[in-house]
Symmetry: C2
Subunit: 656 residues, 2 copies
Amino acid sequence: MIQKTTIWKVSTVLLGIGLVSVLMYGCPSQTEMLDTGDAAQRVYVAPGEYDEYYAFLSGGYSGQLSVWGLPSGRMFRNIPVFSQDPESGYGYSEETKPLLMTSYGFIPWDDSHHPELSLTNSMPDGRWMFINANNTPRVARIDLTSFETVETLELPNTGGNHASTFATENTEYIIGATRFSIPYDMDMDVPIDTYSENFDGSLSFIGVDDETGEMSMDFQILMPPYHYDLGRAGKGPSADWVFFTTYNTEEAHTLLEINASEFDKDYIVAVNWKMAEEYVREGRAETVPAEYYHNMKDENTSVAVSNVHDEVLLLDPRDAPDMIYFLPTPKSPHGVDIDPTGEYIVGGGKLATVIPVHSFSRMLDAIDNDAFEEIINGIPVLEYESTIVGEVENPGLGPLHTEFDGDGHAYTSVYISSEIVKWSLETFEVVDRIDSYYSIGHLMITGGDTPNPDKRYMLGLTKTSRDRFLPTGPKQLHPAQLYDISGDRMEMLLDFPTIGEPHYAQAIPADQIRDNVKQIYDLDANNHPHAVKRTADARVERDGDVVRVYMTNIRSHFTPDNIEGIRVGDEVHFHLTNIEQDWDMVHGFAIKGSNSAEVLIAPGETKTIVWHPQRTGIFPFYCTAFCSALHQEMQGYVRVSPADTDVPLTWRTGED
Amino acid sequence: MIQKTTIWKVSTVLLGIGLVSVLMYGCPSQTEMLDTGDAAQRVYVAPGEYDEYYAFLSGGYSGQLSVWGLPSGRMFRNIPVFSQDPESGYGYSEETKPLLMTSYGFIPWDDSHHPELSLTNSMPDGRWMFINANNTPRVARIDLTSFETVETLELPNTGGNHASTFATENTEYIIGATRFSIPYDMDMDVPIDTYSENFDGSLSFIGVDDETGEMSMDFQILMPPYHYDLGRAGKGPSADWVFFTTYNTEEAHTLLEINASEFDKDYIVAVNWKMAEEYVREGRAETVPAEYYHNMKDENTSVAVSNVHDEVLLLDPRDAPDMIYFLPTPKSPHGVDIDPTGEYIVGGGKLATVIPVHSFSRMLDAIDNDAFEEIINGIPVLEYESTIVGEVENPGLGPLHTEFDGDGHAYTSVYISSEIVKWSLETFEVVDRIDSYYSIGHLMITGGDTPNPDKRYMLGLTKTSRDRFLPTGPKQLHPAQLYDISGDRMEMLLDFPTIGEPHYAQAIPADQIRDNVKQIYDLDANNHPHAVKRTADARVERDGDVVRVYMTNIRSHFTPDNIEGIRVGDEVHFHLTNIEQDWDMVHGFAIKGSNSAEVLIAPGETKTIVWHPQRTGIFPFYCTAFCSALHQEMQGYVRVSPADTDVPLTWRTGED
């Protein structure tokens, strides 16, 4: 029996480090009631009042980014990023389909993990949010004035992009990395068991234009065929560096749960990105073939456009000395997190019995002293003892991620034993612990990854809800728990389901964003090539089999509202312009039997869907967003005739 | 200027009935703070405790059905029904794609409006939930043990299906209706301005098997070309009847906001469905051509199968006397709601200055007395005075929907003036009113549409959030407000954003469903034709260009995890069986560059996605749902070679 053998092997590996329960949830089986004191008052935001924080939660397997309020735990928006969204027409409308184009063609889905606010002096500046696609490696940018995805950039020659998106001090770069090593030439057809010989890792440095936010694939670094798991930029003294965790330094390609868990230590990778940038400037990077898409929404037209690139700059550490180092770290580390001072580099060894803490200043000393164990592909491996300054004992089973309160403490999520441990950055001793329900992954403290954390709230992102809420079948939503960390002890305030599977979150004080948020798109500035801004300009045009309907939407009317002369086999483009200029005054459009989705059109915006009528008849269309007292009357009809009809193309605007 | 003319005409029409503000929101422009007293405590559900009610909110333009807890206002699940869901693979996986098939082909999106719990003696029995698709007319059934969509049925010869789904006393029928009249023969190619001559309405009666829940299109009734807006079944004395509202009795086909608002009264349609059923049994219905799809999940295999039908039974009221009547009702009525006793039929005349209340017993008397104004297409129009028993004065501007507390009061949502009015079923006088923020559509009282309401909570579903929450751009989510109605006065407790645009909701006490909910799918009962229940049976098979990967998922391994010999141009079916049998132990599957979505596979389930590899290379796949401490290691590789490769098909199971 293969399965039994597998389980036995896994157990053997894990037994050695005391994690016999790794195949189980490792969580309490019964619900425990909490003494929640005045928690109700502390999370309640009365009707008409505002939450203190915007929290941005990644969608995980939804591919999206959701926006929540803290402390209320209410979702304000689910922004489509890497997956189609039938509701808004994202990934169906002509304006948004290019955002999902890749070198593999149109991709309807991805897995978004780590949202990152743009930074100025390592503090969120509230301009943009970045998030990664893990499956077909990409990075997206979301504009925080419109809360819309405006750009996606594919990472070439990368297998998974998990250690992403994390920003350097002033968002000079967003980082990415190969999660599952593949041959760096991604079209290479080689046997999988030539892994060590032919497979590679890579780290990506995506430049961000400081004015416009526009991204560019600036350079990559060639790495050994390990798996690169998470990343973080340094801050303060370590601001010129970025850090990644690795696992599978065993270079396994099958049965990873056993074969990639053999070594006692893997690595944290430290990269001096300033030095890498300098090497690239000096011309030490090689230009290599690399097909990838860069898709961006045109600011004036709101139409996304795809550009295909065919090469990238690749830096080999063998040609770029003193730029990159391995810090041995126990065992299969997952998270890597940098404390507010920039001095401590905390690993989350998911199979480790301690939380290892490296010192940045000791790392620099070790480099100066050439305290190297060995050199791998041009990358020196520092001696473990030379960089480590603490190992937090008794951290629970499966420490993963750490954030900070700016008050001398770190908080680490512990997956298998389902708890959060709070420990001292002075003594490296655990000072508090609290149950998390259940199987916590990431955690987030308000500002907890910045130089200046706000010791206020902590959000735990747990992996199963089971009996925490009313049951809804074999698959339940993943919950989040809100904790108050302002006192000496952590207190759980609230338990609420999220959507998708949030892997990480960031929060920003509401005041920092709120006043910049757009309420409308300016109709005057709408330069969409198919916009019509006055009902008098509404019309229908035929060019061969392509019919374009230039249609306005305003309470409570579509112009035109009756269209005849459409033929079976036509390709009908509905170009819909919402000519309202009031906040939240959205119209929607759908036509019976449409083989595309609907579209929602925000005030001032133009959106297009294409319809291929396949049979004759009268097809009603209507406004899908309840817009006014006469919303039901906001409808019209299209007549579809046979392909060889002589019914002329006509339309009714309301004047005739 | 067309637009100005339109606005002027609309204004003229509306001025006459005092609704000059109809084109505006009609809602307060500034946020008002509420004295919420101990509301915080009353809505707070502490971690580990349960909500009192399941609430089911339609998704509106999301096409889905969301499940919430009351009083906490937390969402527990968003069930995909009529739209693709990239996250779960619904509408992308081979098992679920047939659920979105229609006579127009595959439809990726629809607009779901009115959820209806199955009824026994007019009370929710917690077995199934039904919901309508408004754009491409359909009805779906959701199983409340799995919270999954298990069936969709298309309504032939129907233009929009808005007045749906509502169930008769023992769920004998689910009703549907044409919202936008079209020629009954839906392929008919006629000029739109032959509306009165060629267009028709229809009412649909969808049978429901009492044992299995399986739906069938039992018969339709041919109606004049009006727009049929909402419906309700009677109860108690009126249980043999169903009621629909109409508007556009003017038979307009253009500029409906003016032309369909001319008459002072439209109708409520009263249909004796028992008598209709009897007429059908007697053979008075005509068999007419009608292409429509009926799609259903096979209980054993969980694979949905589509069946195409080509005819339907049509009853013409001219051939079916005494079965159907028109009750004149002011003005463009929207909602029609029946009080708990079954005696009062309340219209929601959206342009009316009163809330009209008809009496069922007086209606029967009027029928006995032939108190008819005229007869239209075989349908007698009763005299207004003969059925009306009350007109609630001063109801605010734009009354829409009414529910009941079982304690002698009705609660009506009022759209334009953004309020809820509570009025007496004895005096027909308003006794309380409360602001709703903003532009309320439907409202729901716990059990408020049943013979036995629970005078506990009321949910208002409002149409814009604007300044109620932290802003997130030109388009905001639609909020719900929770009210306590247990006392004499309505009290607002909570304001929370929803998802999609909920048009209606129903709630059921949690205890009635909770214990029936499945925690897993029984692996032994899984008869999916491509299931593999033991890793020893995992394998890969080629048949021409079709490759089938029979793969098992269990923490933390895919079997097989290395596959070679796949060729560019192949059609690769990944048949994934989750062999776990623990609650909520979900695995996901995705492969780099996949042109389909991912799939999530619940414990015991088999799901299939198809991949068309378009270029050579090594393609990582991985588990997309964080399942275990070694989740990151749950991955594998597929090698894709050129179409003419001689690389043999091989795979690695972990034994070799």
